[in-house]
Structures are given as C-alpha cells and as structure tokens.
Symmetry: C2
Subunit: 407 residues, 2 copies
C-alpha cells in the first residue's frame, strides 16, 4: 500500500509550528511513508498544485533539527477559509483531485481554530462521499492557547517565555530613571487572554514584572483603570501595565478603536488591531501628566524562536509525530491534543481527539483565574503556565546569528 | 592610603552596562579598594547622598556573574546634565563635599556622550581647583555606538545582535502569507545609524534580512523611498524595511514629526521620537494599497540581555576593569576605549584616552559605508560589525526565565 502523505501549515506563525512539521516529517519517515509532500501556503497552494517533496529539503537529521529551531511556517501559510461544501462543492472536488494525483493517503494540517475547521469539513466530506482511502488529521498550533480540549497549544509556551523574559527585562529598564513613567505593553490575543496572562510569570524575588494585567475576558473600564494606576503610583514611581490587544469597553468596542481609524479586516472577518497601548498611553499621559511609554510586542512575540521553550519545542514535535502514528493506524477527523497527566511533577501525554469538539470552539482564561478586580491572574493560572516555559531551545548560532532553514 | 571608590551609571540602559559595572567592581576589589560605593541614579543621586556599598549586594562571584547578565542600570541612571562651573559652582562644591565625606579617591562614571561631558567637566574642575586626591574617569556605554576615538562602544554589539536576530526572525514571519506586505521596522539611533545598519547582519544564505535600510546620516526623500519599495516589489511580494527613528527630510524635519503631535523633550534637549515606522507605513499603505506592518523595536532592543553578545559582555567587563586599573595608576580625565588590533582574526585591546577628545563628539556611519543610493550598507560596514555580535551570553535561567539582580 502506498503511503504518500501531505502536510500543510495554516494561520499565524509561531516559534514551534515547524517543530510540529518536523514531527510530522519524522513520524511519517519512521513509520514508512513513501513520499512526504508539503503544501506551499496551505490549502491555498494545494488548490494551485503548489507543493514540495520535503525530503529534497530535509536531507538529514541536522536539517530536521534546524527546522525545529526555525520560526514561522517553513512551507508558508495562508488564511484561506474553506467554504462549506454546499457553497462550493468544486473546491472539495478540486482538493480530492490534487490529492489523488499525488496518490495521497494521509492529509495533515497544522493550525489553529480556523484550520481545525478545515479538517472538520474535509473529514466530513470524505465520510459523506465514502472516501475511505484518505485520512484528514489536524495538528494544533497557536500562540493564543485558545483551542478546546487540549491542555494547552503548541506555540503558547514559547510566546509566553518570550513575554515573561521581555517583561522582566523591560521592568528593569522602566525603573532606571528617577522619574514617573507608566509603561504600557500590548500583547497579542484577541479574545483569549492567555498570552497577556503570561506577563505575570515575570514577577518574582528579582522582579515586580507587570503591576497590572488586563485580559480581554473582562470588560475594560477606563475609570477603574486610571484609579488602579493611581493606586500603584502611591508606592512606585514607575508602573508597568500589560494589556491585551483585544480589551473592550462595556459597549463592545475595542479600546483601540477610538484611536485607530483605518482598521483592516481579514478573510475570517477578524479586525486587524493595533494601537491599544498607544491609545491607553495617551489617556494616561493626559490624566496624570507623566511620561508614558507604549510598547507593542507585535509579531516578534510569535516568532522569537531564539528564546523558545524547550518544553514547547519538544511537545510540538511529539504531537506532530503522534498524529501521524494515529493516521497510519487508520484514524481520521481527529486532532492531536496534550493531556496533563500531572502538574507537580509536570507530566504530559499526547492523544488524539474528535475534531468536532475542537474546531470553532474558543477556550478563554477561566473567570476565577482573573483576580484583583480584573487586574491580575491567580496562582492557579501561574501553576498552569509555569511548566510550559521550562527549558531553552537555543538556535544553532552561526556567525553570531540563529541558523534557519527556508525553501 | 585609603582607596574608596564610587561608581555611577548614567543615560539610557544597555544590555551590558552592568557588565562594565561588574568590571569596575571586580577591578577595584582585585586591585585593593577599601570601599566600593555605587551612586544611586548617577550624579543626581550623589548630590542627594544616595549611594550604596556595593559589597553588600555583590557578596560572591555568582552575584557578579548575575550582574553581568542583568540588563539596564543596576544602580539606576539619570539624565542629569551637569551645569558648567560658571553657571553653578555650588553643584561642583556639593559633589566634592559628598565625595570627601565618603573619603573617595576614585570616581567612575559609566555612560555615553553626555556622561563623558560630566567626566570632562569634573576633571577640569579638579585640575583648576588643584584637587589631586580624586581622579575622575569615564567608562563608555551606549547602544548607539556614536562615541569618538573608541573602535566601538559597549552595548552596541548586544543591541546589534538582538536586531540582527529579530530581523531574521521577522523576515521569516513576513513571507509566511501569500499576500503583499510591506513591513517597516523602526530602530533606535537619533543621529547615528549604527544600530539601523546592523539590520544588514541578518542577510545571508538563509535570509534576505532587510531589503532596504535607511540611516539618519542621509537625507530621507519620500519619493525615492516609494520608488525603491516599488522596485523591490517587482521581484518579491513581501518587503522588509529597516529605518532609523531619526531619519529626516531635506528641510531638517523628522519623518515622524508629521505624524507625532505631542513630542516630549528631555533635559538635554533631545526630542523623544516615536512613530517613524507608523508614519511611513501609512504613506506606503495609501500609495500601494497593500497591507503594511509597522514595528518598533522600542526599548526592548537596549535591554534584551537574553540574547546578548558574549563579545560585548566580556569587553564591557574588561574596559570597566581597565579604567579602574588606570585610575589606580594615577590617571584622571580619561575614558576607556577599545582598540581593534586586527579584524581578521578579530583582536581587541582596551586603552584609555583623553576625555576631551571624546565628550560631546558624535561618531556617525562613514559616508562611503552607505551604499545603493542610501538604502544599504557596505561589506566594509558588515566586516566592522560582524565580530561584535559573536558568541552568546545566555542568562542564568531559573524556573524558565532569566535571573537578574536588583537593589
């Protein structure tokens, strides 16, 4: 039996999405795949027959290791929203046509919520059309940590480690001048505050970290925000605030909407947010008359593989490998997940789970983990996050800079 | 003879200013200092008799090593501009009074251009007043690399390594979606383009790095800028531009001035710049109608000690140590400098030099190192910078994050 597989990457990049790709590649290779194809730019490229033979790029173990340490999607990504079968049967026919051409038996898609919807629809379609010789499996990925069922997502730990590290460094920088400064750091996560919560990791005996943390799970109230800053300013000249890009006021408007005039909307209808930190800094400056410093972690937070979490890199590899194994055992319409067997000590297992329970479901930070009147996260939240940032996966440094692999 | 010393840190933080502090401390300790004091917040704190006994904080070798790996100024910094003697003789009298109280024989100040001016004025004052029992010595520091005489400055190499690394990572992120995007990265350096030039380090067999690089040494022409982007867009969907925060148009105005309304001015008369990337991204978006992504490296670039250059950390320590040695040998009114004995192989020596040649002189990128019609830097520039980012000084990681030391 031929075992040609194809794998694609979709959605926003992470520091470890290529580690999952390496896991799929290595798993497929170890478990006897004949050909291992990679879609260029996900489904969008596949429809256009844009693919590569991955073995031509990954010629030995060192290439696989470099791939694990290369940020962003090696194969390229896309934000293609697969239309429903009812709306566009020809898209489904075309996908199957291309897969048949390559004699594909296993299809893997590495991505977040939207990508898992692709797996859901393709596996449903296959079932309805009685296509039994191609499996469709998902490998989770997102810095946002907002996927259901899985304990956490590949990519979250590394972004959280970057955020914790950088908040620690910034907190040193913030206090250096003997003047009043309010620094406001804007962190990714539209609807789920996991990444913003990770700013709390920076606090410890050697750092105050962030003084206040605002997640999108809670309604943002400007008056209370200013009152909290005033409270901190009673004991400290310098205040460090971490705020999610997605915080909204009671009327459902993004805090940054007042400031940003030209927002763009992507193909999933997501608004491209920017300027929450800047908007808040302006309010703080005019209210307190003090110096403010808005800082956006921007896309750097999702591609900073130079400070990736070793736990995250290893787990991302494992879950990719595990999904291949399950597919080769006949599973379809499933997604790889993490199961936390124990927290202290941290023991993690991989498993697979029905995609229907995962696609299009958004997991946010639990209500009771958000404390101090919506300005910090609980010890329970820290206990949950801490194991995920352990260990360092340093790049292979060549001539002073990280070595990457590219097409 | 009593050998009490006092050391202060001044100006903007760097990733290695504490390594120089560690070098001063270790040098003073090794060479027989009785007491090693640290000014809190530089001269500003000294005038207020705010100081610490450093031995109370650095109790062993491990503390010194952690100090070398802690970003920003351990002692706190200031932006205090020492008035001339003519304008404020009482300030000078007060400084000497506090130094006499502590029985100080050697005064060290770690900082950039403005701080070297402090050393210049204090040593001149001492000379004129025939104060022969206190020496005044400077230790260089600035990410901007704009100090005269010295081959390069402590702090530059680590900031350049961060910039090179992050540009490489961002260049992977930029190309991931199959859409037209112009990413504009704003880098520190008001008048000297050294840091922006370091974006060129990212280019190599595995990365295009930045496609265009704009330094403040050249007049910025919007028409030519848009034409260059158009040229790049002929062969690439995604363009990555690195631009100095300090680029100016022919009329001497900062490019960001059009966008920023509320600029602040610090006590040296420096304008606080922000928004050059945002301003340019807006122009590009309306001109080409494509997606743009402005990214500010912000203060992160000066405190990212988690990816510090080992060369920089070691040299910063050495030059601090060397200045102490020179002071103990009777030198005053001098600054530590780097002398590049050889480039290939890279061999560096430390020396000391007359502060009058260094204070208030700004070293910019040589005209002939700026090539491609002002949009890139030469091989000579790269040869100069490359040795400075070699080696990694990774933090001591504790519980997943860098360990720092603080007062």
């Amino acid at each position: 039996m031929s075992r040609n597989i194809i794998v694609g990457q979709s959605g926003g990049p992470t520091a470890v999405i290529n580690s999952s790709l390496a896991g799929v590649f290595q798993g497929a290779k170890d478990l006897g795949a004949t050909k291992i194809y990679g879609m260029r730019n996900g489904i969008e490229g596949l429809l256009d027959e844009q693919y590569i033979d991955m073995s031509e790029y990954l010629k030995g173990d060192i290439d696989v290791e470099i791939l694990k340490r290369t940020p962003s999607a090696f194969l390229g990504s896309c934000r293609f929203k697969l239309p429903t079968y009812e709306k566009s049967p020809e898209t489904y026919d075309r996908i199957i046509e291309v897969l048949r051409k390559l004699d594909i038996s296993h299809f893997f898609y590495i991505g977040g919520n939207d990508s898992m919807d692709t797996i859901k629809q393709l596996s449903q379609y296959a079932k309805e059309k009685n296509i039994t010789d191609i499996t469709f499996m998902g490998v989770p990925k997102t810095i946002d940590n907002d996927l259901a069922v899985t304990d956490h997502t590949p990519g979250f730990g590394s972004a959280a480690k970057y955020i914790g590290t950088t908040i620690k460094e910034l907190s040193r920088d913030c206090v250096v001048q003997p003047i009043d400064v309010v620094t406001i750091v804007e962190i990714m996560g539209r609807n789920a505050g996991w990444l913003t919560a990770s700013a709390a990791l920076a606090r410890g005996e050697d750092s105050d970290g962030a003084d206040l943390i605002y997640l999108p799970e809670k309604v943002f109230e400007m008056d209370k925000f200013l009152a909290k800053i005033e409270e901190v300013r009673k004991t400290k000249k310098q205040v460090l605030v971490a705020v999610s890009e997605g915080v909204k006021t009671a009327d459902g408007k993004y805090v940054c909407e007042a400031a940003s005039s030209n927002m763009m909307v992507d193909s999933f209808g997501h608004k491209a947010l920017s300027g929450t930190a800047t908007a808040l800094a302006d309010v703080v400056k005019s209210h307190f008359g003090c110096k403010t410093r808005p800082i956006e972690f921007s896309t750097i937070q999702r591609c900073a593989s130079h400070i990736a979490s070793l736990t995250d890199v290893n787990e991302a590899f494992l879950v990719g490998y595990r999904v291949v194994k399950a597919a080769f055992e006949g599973e379809t319409g499933k997604v790889g997940i993490y199961v936390r067997v124990s927290n202290k000590p941290y023991l993690m297992n991989t498993d697979i789970y029905d995609v229907n329970a995962i696609a299009n479901v958004e997991k946010t930070v639990p209500e009771n983990w958000i404390i101090n009147d919506g300005t910090y996260v609980s010890e329970e939240a820290l206990d949950y996050m801490r194991p995920l940032i352990q260990g360092e996966s340093y790049p292979y440094m060549v001539n002073g800079l990280p070595k990457h692999i590219r097409l």
